[in-house]
Symmetry: C2
Subunit: 434 residues, 2 copies
Amino acid sequence: MRLVVVGGVAAGLSAASRARRLDSSLEIVVLEKGERISYGACGLPYFIEGRVRSIDDLTVYKPEFFERERNIRIRTRTEASAIRHSSRELVLASGERLRYDRLIWTAGARPAQRAPARHDAAQCDNDARLFSLHTDEDALRLDKFLRDKAPKRAAVVGGGYIGLEMAGALRTRGLEVTLIENGKDLLQRGDAHLTQTIVERLERCRVEVRLGENAGDPRELPHDLILWSAGLKPNVEIPAEAGVELGRTGAIHTDDRMETALRGVYAAGDCCETNHVVSGKPCWIPLGTTAQKTGRVAGANSTGGRERFGGVAGTSIVKVCGLGVGVTGLSENEARQCGFRPVSARVEAFEKARYLLGRKVEVTLTADAGSGRLLGATVTGDEGVLARLNTVVAALHARMGVEQLAGLDLAYAPPYAPVMDPVLVAAQQLLRDL
Amino acid sequence: MRLVVVGGVAAGLSAASRARRLDSSLEIVVLEKGERISYGACGLPYFIEGRVRSIDDLTVYKPEFFERERNIRIRTRTEASAIRHSSRELVLASGERLRYDRLIWTAGARPAQRAPARHDAAQCDNDARLFSLHTDEDALRLDKFLRDKAPKRAAVVGGGYIGLEMAGALRTRGLEVTLIENGKDLLQRGDAHLTQTIVERLERCRVEVRLGENAGDPRELPHDLILWSAGLKPNVEIPAEAGVELGRTGAIHTDDRMETALRGVYAAGDCCETNHVVSGKPCWIPLGTTAQKTGRVAGANSTGGRERFGGVAGTSIVKVCGLGVGVTGLSENEARQCGFRPVSARVEAFEKARYLLGRKVEVTLTADAGSGRLLGATVTGDEGVLARLNTVVAALHARMGVEQLAGLDLAYAPPYAPVMDPVLVAAQQLLRDL
């Protein structure tokens, strides 16, 4: 039995490792088109910022580790070009054909083609000023440019996670930074208040923010450096051609065992859509943590397991010039689109005892007016964001109501949290408003 | 209608404030036997340590605030001595009789009589070296002693929260410290590993720890300063004499509306037992955060509300010489006593990306082998303890199983959390062992 995994980052390596753990006799081959496996792509902005000295520090494991310790064959610089499922063969870019019994597709996502065609991120070599930050090669090239050319003015195009982190990272490297976002909102939550909070922090760090502005042709931007981070799209073309079903999000549709419409072909990670535990609907939220979880499930089931992936809550957290910004569940706008009647409460509260120099966090909770069910949260602050966010994440997975949330026995001690945790203060406020 | 509240700290003031919010016409009187209301007793060790300059910084509100802003009458230095419920009268220590329509008893707890009788904490004036740390007066007296007498060697008797915090606080003030605990365990969880972790940290900070040792007669201890922090007992004698039912824990038994066996008499805070959401059994875990929640419920129901208190998970967190120690739910020992078949998994994992200088946290999860239901957790570490602990708290309230816990969509970003949060790593480990 041979398992072939396409993609050697979070989802692929989780899948391969899990398969190996459950089946010691399986032949396992992982194909990675890049040079490195297992690097922490989410750490690339911190490499650019200068807090991580070498890109190798982001690499959790080297190929030799998998080969030696886990008996998993790793083939880097190896790209798939077609799936011939009737004959259970993967066609590689080199022309080689690789037979599989089980296939796990974890080919990830790539920068969306939202830049003008000749200058999109995939072709950024056309303009030496134009960069994306999707792979380690991108990061190395950008770092070299920063060192060699000492650019003064940068434009960051796109107000998602990478854009926000990179705006801060480039400020730290001393550049003047302008952030240009096509839409009216940052982080695509349709949340004007959240956008305002982030804009204020960016402006305090002297990042110029331009919302609702199309960056247009990057050749016409006057900046010395252009970071194009305007969205991603899933790498689905090859499995789609082979008959794998795509969902309405455009990403691969799987069942909750991560199996695609082709029996024996699984998919995991950024190329897949997942179920949202609050809306109950498919969503495409490509993140490393989901990649690792779905990879594990795909790996287990490829060896005959019966594991299920329970879905995502739409959680994310990002640091924007020192400000922690966390979201989970549905925003008011998203909740309305899903047929809920959202009501929100927003509070500012200390994250720990004021007399121990506690800082304020802002917690916004959203619930359904009809049922009292908790739907989502936004948490922002310089300290203490993660604890509040993850409390709500657990509550969302449990389909908790606001009343139960308001009664949680959350930890209290002056150096860690106030007697009423900000989540409880917000829940009590929301109970009054429901 | 007159509501009388006995006790002017967390539970009492929450109750009075909530009653006022729901009923603007009620006459509300709060009796406090001490000089101050609303002080943060949990902050007293930080005052001793020197991080809080004035005890007034711990006081959230002054009596004038409640009188002026909330039309709540506050009588400090006013002690109750009996309840005459048939005539709806409270007898005060002064002999005065105060009529009530509704009564909320929030008289808290006091140091247990575990020191030799003539030297117990209530009579510590007998020996100028002997202190407890239960009220602001205690803290002021201790601080003066530290400044005036410059003691060199301190004995801290009792390995609960106050003892652990005070061992650290007295080290910070430069004293040699010996911690003496009667039992074999610190924090009374019957958890040898947790005890070992805490002992190691204490010893690293050069606190001498003596477990399983009876401190005996404090007169015979050779130390310059003795802090007696060996347990608490609830202030229940007066309501018990009036016919209020006590539970098997020795604290006041109420229904989930916080009403006692006497109709119209409510109780809240440290004098009450509460229901444990995991064991389903009554427990007595006196903590400020529970006091505030039960106070709110009692206050609402005293005005005719129908609110319920959902119980506690047994959560607490304490900082021991810089080490965060958090517990929630049942320890293995407690779980066994409650009829579960506990299985535990323990992992060490980074609390955020290693390449951003993440520190290790240790997470121990306990679940029931039969059902897979999560029963409790212990989290220790220098950073990142609160987020992991509170995630589990929410899961315990939701009666979550380990499998669902392992799939939570917890937040991930390098400066905040690793791609697999330590809670998820522990849950995955536990799933293997169940």
